[in-house]
């Protein structure tokens, strides 16, 4: 009987949970109390086989009971700690959801700001563009007069098919300019719409050279053509029209945002 008690105690020496310890202690108590009762039942009929065994068992019983009480105490404390832990976990959950909420709001704010910044940049661009292209209305009107008066953009009201006037420089006009007089323009009657043109043969004497207004720029303005290296055989310098600004403003950190609604 003792050995059974010892083996049970040996098993309890390993690290076990309170519940297991409690249960094992209960088992011990059960075993001991059964032994005691058996002994008491036997002692009615026969003498004690071993003197003092009943006191041993009683001592063990008391000891087990004490252990049991202690374990119960520990269990109660552990219960309290567990409750605290649960309360703290709830707090943590609450804080977590708060943080997530804030994160969502922050993301939304960032999105809105990014859009606003992007649109502001677009607006600035268009303002800059408009400012760049601003021309005095007087100049525009002057120009409009010039191109309309010469019938360059609007046909003369009495124009009929057969009228030699055109919205582009005619053969005649082309030949009488600087270009026409520079090199020998190959004469081809197909392209010229003045086939019987007496001027087609060559140059006019200088005094007869008509100065059409489309050729003479107002040179006193001092405007010069843009400078260029004389070699057009090479690739022209590339103008990178890629607008990197557009991409930068719109790319936000795309984490899991399931809400796409605007």
């Amino acid at each position: 009987m003792r050995k059974r008690g010892e083996t049970v105690m040996a098993a309890a020496a390993a690290e076990k949970s309170t519940k297991e310890k409690l249960l094992s202690t209960l088992d011990d108590i059960e075993v001991l109390s059964r032994e005691l009762i058996e002994m008491l039942a036997l002692s009615r009929t026969q003498k004690l086989p071993q003197p003092g065994e009943d006191t041993d068992i009683l001592e063990l019983l008391v000891q087990r009971d004490k252990e049991f009480q202690e374990l119960m105490q520990t269990a109660v404390e552990q219960g309290k700690v567990h409750q605290e832990m649960q309360a703290l976990e709830k707090e943590v959950e609450k804080r977590d959801s708060d943080i997530q909420q804030l994160q969502k709001q922050l993301k939304e704010a960032e999105h809105i700001l990014a859009t606003a910044v992007y649109q502001a940049k677009e607006k600035l661009k268009s303002i800059e563009k408009a400012r760049k292209g601003s021309i005095s209305s007087e100049e525009i009107i002057k120009y409009a007069h010039r191109i309309s008066a010469s019938n360059a953009v609007c046909a003369p009201l009495n124009w009929v098919p057969g009228d030699p006037r055109r919205p582009y420089p005619t053969d005649l006009e082309m030949r009488s300019g600087i270009l026409g007089n520079m090199s020998n323009m190959p004469t081809n009657g197909v392209n010229g719409h003045l086939p019987g043109d007496a001027l087609a043969a060559g140059r006019l004497p200088d005094i007869l050279t008509p100065q059409y207004p489309w050729q003479s720029a107002d040179v006193s303005m001092g405007i010069l053509p843009p400078h260029h290296g004389n070699d057009f055989g090479l690739e022209p310098p590339g103008h990178n029209k890629e607008n990197e600004d557009d991409v930068e403003a719109m790319s936000t950190d795309s984490s899991s945002s399931s809400s796409d609604s605007d």
Partner: protein, 135 residues
Amino acid sequence: MAGVMETEEQARHRFQLELEFVQCLANPNYLNFLAQRGYLREKPFVNYLKYLLYWKEPEYAKFLKYPHCLHMLELLQYEHFRKELVNAQCAKFIDEQQILHWQHYSRKRTRLQQALAEQQQQQPQAPSHGNTTSK
């Protein structure tokens, strides 16, 4: 790409040359002429056309008497257009459409004038109807 230093005189001359040339581009027959002689296929020429785009800037455009040339210049930047210009029918079509467009405002104005004239013809009749009924 060696930058040749040109004198102001040369630059002015070049300005006039380029002014004339870019305006010649408004003439579809001239474009056909250039296409048939293969100029539009040469890479330096294509680069030159791209360089000529500076005439679109307002400070240069104000010298152009034939603004159609700018549209032609823009179209010429596309290879497909340059290829198509070899056909004489293409040039003829462009010429016809260009002239029709050119006449657009005149036509509109004559239509308006006709409408106005018709209106004025109707108006004198209306009051006379009213006079005959009152006796």
